[in-house]
Symmetry: C2
Subunit: 340 residues, 2 copies
Amino acid sequence: MPAPGKATINDIARLAAVSKKTVSRVINNSPLVRPDTREKIQTLMKQLGYAPDPQARGLAFRRSFLIGLVYDNPTAQYIVNMQYGALDALRDSGYELVVHPCDSNRDDYIDGIRRFALQQKLHGVILIPRVSEDDQLARALREIDVRYVRIASIPLDDPAHMLHTQERQAGVEAANYLQSLGHRQLGLITGPHRYRSSIERGGGFAHGLAQRGIELTPDYVFEGGYTFESGVAGAEYLLAKSPRPTAIFACNDEMAAGVYKAAMRRGLSIPGDLSVVGYDDSPLATQLWPALTTIHSPIRDLGRQAAQMLLAPEHAPAPTQPLSVTPHLVVRDSSQPPPV
Amino acid sequence: MPAPGKATINDIARLAAVSKKTVSRVINNSPLVRPDTREKIQTLMKQLGYAPDPQARGLAFRRSFLIGLVYDNPTAQYIVNMQYGALDALRDSGYELVVHPCDSNRDDYIDGIRRFALQQKLHGVILIPRVSEDDQLARALREIDVRYVRIASIPLDDPAHMLHTQERQAGVEAANYLQSLGHRQLGLITGPHRYRSSIERGGGFAHGLAQRGIELTPDYVFEGGYTFESGVAGAEYLLAKSPRPTAIFACNDEMAAGVYKAAMRRGLSIPGDLSVVGYDDSPLATQLWPALTTIHSPIRDLGRQAAQMLLAPEHAPAPTQPLSVTPHLVVRDSSQPPPV
DNA sequence: CTGAAAGCGCTTACAG
DNA sequence: CTGAAAGCGCTTACAG
């Protein structure tokens, strides 16, 4: 009797009086096993606490049971939620999650990911913005025949490889909300233009306003860097304008926190003098005072869906439309109608 | 000529006109290879972009090249920094990092980790508070002969398995600092008593004050839950006392943010009326206004050291004293001498 | 210092 | 529906 957790396919085969090939069939859910044989084997596996060795299986299969999570530099909360989501889907699947941050500013970064995928014979890879926006990376993965899912704010790839975050739509929602409160003089602090998400969030906001007949002139738009300091700078800029905006939409919460600082320094009260809406619903949002109205994206769901897509059977029917996930506005205490 | 990244030990052996055992010796840095043979083989490996297959190696070695990172529920920033640190040490080592969150409130959680370690034949495991504080888990890992490193605020294990965070010392430093500013009436918001870190941080603070002749009476100590809301509650409690404390030490930044909220609601200015010191130096610390004075711990260094310990040669001399890492106070804008 | 044989724990390809 | 043989890409144990 082998030690618990140490049994091999040979132990099971011997005890079940079948060949190891039959045990293998049970492991791999082959239909070509008589029901009673299958049951006998499954019982035995449970009794011995048997789990097939992923390395041996991987060696024979010529690929591993590892999913890679590849990202450049999102916020900590984003990464962690994504990991939790992916792990939700991988639980009890026999697959494990290997984290692989990278620096997409290095011109050999794709090579690093290729080597990673090749050497570990990854089953698949989840790509998060902004690396997910890189078509060259996607092509490199296709070339070496590694499955991948790209999480992005626009449909950049086949539906089978895409998870769409609908950030533009969320920008529209922020615009509609502020308009409905009665704001007419708005300010926008975007992220860097090289981030597709920034363009979508800000673009959606401007579009939403335009739909309701409010013009957002370019001098009320400030390009930030998704950082606290750039939020401060953006707010300094916008709050010095005349007429002063009564509401500011910042394309992430960190910049929104910067807006708080600039407003407080000027003695402006939030939301009395200025409404602020952020994006991300980071932990910060509820820890600021007043609590921040912001856009919540179901990041964990994204991670779960991405992992599920990678685990789907090889020839499962591909969706005709990219799967997507819908962010929504969370109203807290940083927004109200403009002062009269 | 095999495709790049697809060569095997057999290709190398054939092209070098040696046996694959000799190639294996080069891979494993055996000294039993003639220098010129070694060099010929190494050149060939580089030319073909050869990297040994970790699964095949693992199968033969009876253990994998995976390091597990096991944690319950620390903050996102902590997890991510720990991961970056561990990956710093693993880079180009052939080892990969597999993340494994768990729920230490479930009574079968140790079993889950055991199965994970056993099935993946992990090379080693990094344990973060609070799972690192669980002796039963450590024992379980020892029983199945899996290497582990425990990161904790007190030396719970052999030096070879410990990384000591010196949180008590940091608590003392916070006390000394506030005392030196002239504060005599202090308040303390601790974390939950079931967290060892909370006891050390708070205990160090009280001890530091006592050393300088300042008594911290129990009614000026509030047991929080490391959450924002508990920080608010703690501050509500402390600020209602008479005499009112002129400074509060919160055992993490999230609770310190809660103190901000409570103070602002009461119309107290920070740091004019109340000094606040936090712990963690989370992103929040610089995004609050005023920026928070807090304790910075080199989490990434911790992760790096932990991984290095796991990679150390099997019979490397163990340290006689646990390795440790020293946090330090970062003074920002939330602290100043008490009002006169 | 080097190598031929056997084996790690699985699966593939084939046969029945 | 089931199995014997060969192989995945490495290392161990042994021999020289």
